[in-house]
């Protein structure tokens, strides 16, 4: 008997043990391969009716045909424009309001009853009203997207601002900072990284409302194209629309992450 430790056999499942990057990549790719294999077999072996569930390659062909024949890029552009404009407007209101509500309890006490009430009203329930007010044009879509995200955005930003550590504010006070200076040099820079994360998350929600807005009384945009495809039973085009929305969501998320890293380089070693 010697005292050398016997190496334990490595096991597949270990609690919270990090795995090599290559293994992580291989696993990530294989889940997609399995997904497409299952999809393909479902069509080939006729587990499903291929009229309602075309195979993956037909979806890609559908996307190609949309892009080439139906000027799909214009609709994609319109959808992105609606998202960008409505989200910019929402941030323009929510960021300053959230910062003031999180900083000063008196401002919170005034606005919060209104904000919390609106948060529980489902934005789509306003569609009939918005249609009467704004008609079927862009105004109605942008208004829906705006009220869909603004209340949550205000609340999340307020909470992040509230969680700025009191000692940071007090440090600035004992260094001679007045309220405006503290807001500008402590509260805003301290909460900005979290505010950006909140914006990224709410942007994803914005895409949800976009589809709802473009399915009802719309002639342009990704959602409208999908509804038109349904009328002609072009299931592959509906799926192509879903694919594009998913890809755009990923792209925006990626861009926001890059922006986050660019704006807050001092958080680099803090992996989230």
């Amino acid at each position: 008997m010697n005292g050398a430790p016997t190496p334990r056999r490595p096991r597949w499942f270990e609690f919270q043990r990090a795995i090599p990057a290559r293994a992580s990549l291989a696993l990530g790719v294989s889940v997609w391969i399995i997904f497409f294999l299952l999809w393909e077999s479902a069509v080939v072996f006729e587990w499903v009716n291929s009229l309602f569930m075309p195979p993956p390659e037909k979806v890609l062909l559908g996307l190609w045909s949309l892009l080439v024949k139906d000027a799909f890029l214009v609709d994609i552009g319109i959808s992105i424009y609606r998202i960008a404009l409505s989200f910019a407007l929402a941030c323009l209101v929510a960021v300053p309001l959230g910062i003031f509500m999180g900083s000063f309890p008196r401002v919170e006490a005034f606005f919060n009853p209104l904000v919390s009430a609106w948060r529980y009203l489902p934005a789509p329930s306003f569609i009939p009203l918005l249609l009467m007010w704004f008609g079927t044009g862009d105004g109605q879509k942008i208004a829906l997207l705006f009220i869909g995200v603004i209340w949550f955005l205000i609340t999340i930003i307020m909470d992040h601002v509230k969680s700025v550590r009191r000692e940071l504010i007090e440090t600035s006070m004992t260094l001679g900072g007045n309220r405006w200076q503290i807001l500008r040099t402590v509260v805003i820079p301290a909460s900005m990284p979290n505010i950006m994360v909140a914006m990224r998350q709410m942007l994803a929600v914005s895409w949800t409302y976009l589809v709802i807005a473009e399915i009802v009384a719309a002639t342009t945009g990704i959602g409208a194209v999908m509804m038109r495809a349904k009328r002609f039973l072009h299931v592959e085009k509906i799926m192509a629309g879903i694919l594009v929305i998913g890809l755009l969501g990923l792209l925006f998320d990626f861009l926001f992450r890059r922006l986050h890293r660019l704006l807050f380089p001092y958080l680099e070693s803090e992996r989230r």
């Binding site: 000692e167 007090e170 440090t171 006070m173 004992t174 260094l175």
Partner: protein, 273 residues
């Protein structure tokens, strides 16, 4: 340094403060606190936890309103926080989005010190706390002790009339704490700074302070004001040398005895003994 009489810098007289509890009843946090801090002196507020020493310091800083009593700095009444009473906290307060250099310049920027002067003075104090090599580092890359050095440099570079410290080394490990205590003595010797420091660490109080205000609790009152005359009016930046003196041991035992008498389990121990 000679033991010449020094002028009073900070004067605390008859200071009291009540806190309202959630249940609606009020408790007296501190009662009738009176003491002076003289020019260039390091005064420590020492006592068991819950004796209200931090509350006294926060009132001096202007971060809390006194219930009663008067607070005077250089003969002027204290009203609200201000740059002449810079505070170093126990928790790390470096601004993560600023480099070490920018952190130390921060207070001067608030007070409109011209850019060139700001930069030079910040450099001087960064060197003083031996962080020259980390001038352009962000706080996230620094250890706890280094973050506290940034906080000290940032406060001193702003030229406060008195430096307030609330358990500044309380979050550090023993070795770093010791180094930081010695560093603080060195810094104070070269900058002529008056300090009011809160601590619950007897050793730290005796080693650093010229005078120790010992507080009791419920409500917080001053029990005794002790001096560390045995150091001969000098500050020795060598902790081993100070701790080795026989007078050090005597003073430490005396304070430990008082601390034990303040302990809530005193009756319990007495019954057992």
């Amino acid at each position: 340094m000679s033991a010449a009489p020094r002028e009073t810098k900070l004067s605390v007289h008859g200071l009291s403060k009540d806190f309202r509890l959630g249940s609606g009843e009020t408790i007296q946090a501190v009662a009738d606190i009176s003491f002076d801090v003289r020019d260039n002196e390091l005064c420590a507020l020492l006592g068991p936890s819950g004796c209200g020493k931090s509350t006294v310091l926060r009132m001096v800083a202007g971060l809390e309103e006194p219930g009663a009593g008067s607070l005077m700095l250089d003969g002027k009444a204290i009203a609200g926080p201000g740059r002449e009473r810079g505070m170093v906290f126990q928790s790390y307060t470096s601004f993560d989005w600023l480099t070490v250099q920018e952190n130390v310049e921060y207070g001067m920027r608030l007070n409109g010190v011209p850019r060139a002067e700001r930069r030079d003075r910040a450099r001087h104090f960064i060197d003083l706390v031996s962080l020259g090599a980390f001038r352009h580092a962000f706080p996230i890359e620094l250890s706890g002790g280094m973050k506290q050095r940034v906080a000290i440099a940032r406060t001193l570079a702003n030229e406060p009339a008195i430096l307030l410290m609330d358990e500044p080394f309380g979050a550090l490990d023993a070795e770093t704490r010791w180094t930081m205590q010695e560093l603080l003595i060195d810094i104070l010797e070269s900058t002529d700074t008056t300090v009011l420091m809160v601590t619950h660490d007897i050793e730290e109080a005796i080693f650093l302070a010229d005078r120790i205000v010992f507080m009791t609790r419920h409500p917080g009152r001053i029990r005794k004001i002790l001096t560390t005359d045995f150091k001969g009016g000098r500050r020795v930046a060598d902790k081993e040398a100070v701790v080795g003196l026989p007078e050090y041991g005597a003073l430490e035992r005396h304070i430990m005895h008082m601390m034990r008498e303040e302990s809530p389990s005193r009756e319990h121990h007495a019954a057992e003994g």
